[in-house]
Symmetry: C2
Subunit: 268 residues, 2 copies
């Protein structure tokens, strides 16, 4: 997890909070768990999704695990600030969970598999701790789904740098499109994937600010030094990409990105 | 209209019918007009959308216009075969409509602007014949929104050929992302655009067949001769793209494409 492509800075924590707010409705509106359900959030990070999940499902109990102590401290502060009492935070390795087989009613995993060299291994472990008849929900983005108006090859080149850096760290920034075969191969049944497309234009300033600028562009901007240092892109092209981003979030620009949500069940 | 990039063959008519069936719910479920409304469908082609619109809105009256006599004959046969009595078909040029100002309650225009060298001119004409307080609905695709699993640079190159050929004929295959600035610039008010993403995997055979194979791949396949003749792509690369398409519609493949629906009003 030292290889988390976006790093662990406090501006990264803010970026994740903005992302969670804008995406709350798009991704979470249909994530509901019954009263008393025991739900594992695998890879909770700083708790950006945890507080939404636990807030939306006050009668379910959440066990949110992550490997990073620093992230868990932030998650604890966030859970506490939201006054939530249905969340336990634990430091655990998602590849070797310290839970017995068939323990949880549901598993929730958001923006985690994209960073793993072998997401299938994690899915196998999730399946082990999931009860027969239990369900898994996986949410991921896909950076190859991004496009904007005006179209820009320089922006595409900058986004490609992010995909390449994530690949070097063992991840897959194009994992969203791959959730169906991944969950199927891990043995989950009745896998259903739905695209969740976020779109922004000048009539939607909260999406332009919360997603286009403060989530996506901030994420791309965050890899400038590494991309240029590795000579994945020239300084001049990088600057042009950032200028083109300004047009895409301007009054005549538009912005589009697709997340994927997959649900599967453990047929036992 | 002799430059319609996809041609006027009978297999093209079948392609449009398959497309209309799969997209019926995605694009049409929220297109509803009140009893007695007078609606212009600008550029109805062979009537693929017309029969859905008129069937979904039996109490509204539709005037569907197109420049092609051959397309109108097919549209008439389709309207008749569906037993619809609320459609008038007329041969008209959408740039010079033979209707007075402020004549229609609503305008509907689907998969038309993408083929026009100056979509703004058509939108101005639509605005002229639209009553103050009336609304316009525009639906377009965006070929730059397409992606699939496994990812394939050869497929991207083949799709780029389609975009280029459409550009040569004066069209814009990336128009979906541009609907907000286009409608705004034409003077429509309260413009709202929503992305409509179609996604296919092995659990959705009707989408794989109706959209991935018989709509999108068929459309790309249709430009093979022209693309190779113009040397936009090599024969070898084209063949690889088609082979990669087979993986994308196979049991471990996925397919994604985004349409855009825009609604605006005539503030007078």
């Amino acid at each position: 997890m030292n290889d988390y492509v976006h790093g662990y800075s406090s501006s990264e924590t803010e970026r994740l909070d903005d992302q969670a707010q804008v995406l709350r409705r798009l991704l979470h509106h249909d994530v509901r768990f019954r009263e008393g359900a025991k739900v594992l959030e695998a890879g909770c990070g700083t708790g950006a999704q945890t507080v939404i999940l636990a807030g939306n499902n006050p009668a379910a109990h959440f066990v949110a695990v992550d490997l990073s102590e620093a992230s868990l401290r932030e998650a604890a502060a966030s859970v506490s600030a939201h006054g939530l009492t249905n969340v336990s935070l634990e430091r655990q390795d998602i590849f070797e969970l310290r839970y017995p087989d068939n323990y949880f009613d549901h598993i929730f995993c958001c923006f985690v598999l994209e960073h793993l060299p072998d997401p299938n291994l994690a899915l196998q472990e999730f399946k082990r701790v999931l009860k027969a008849g239990g369900s898994i929900t996986v949410i991921e983005g896909d950076h190859g789904s991004f496009f904007c108006h005006p179209p820009s090859e320089d922006i595409s080149a900058a986004v490609d740098c992010l995909v390449e850096l994530q690949r070097q760290k063992g991840g897959d920034a194009l994992i969203g499109r791959r959730l169906f075969p991944l969950l199927s191969a891990a043995g989950f049944a009745s896998v259903q994937v739905s695209p969740r497309t976020i779109y922004a234009d000048d009539s939607l300033p909260e999406v332009v600010n919360g997603f286009s600028k403060r989530t996506f562009i901030a994420m791309v901007a965050g890899i400038e030094d590494e991309a240029i240092e590795q000579q994945l892109i020239s300084t001049q092209r990088w600057r042009q990409a950032m200028a083109d981003f300004n047009l895409a979030v301007g009054s005549e620009g538009t912005f589009c990105y697709t997340f994927f949500k997959a649900v599967g069940s453990n047929s036992g």
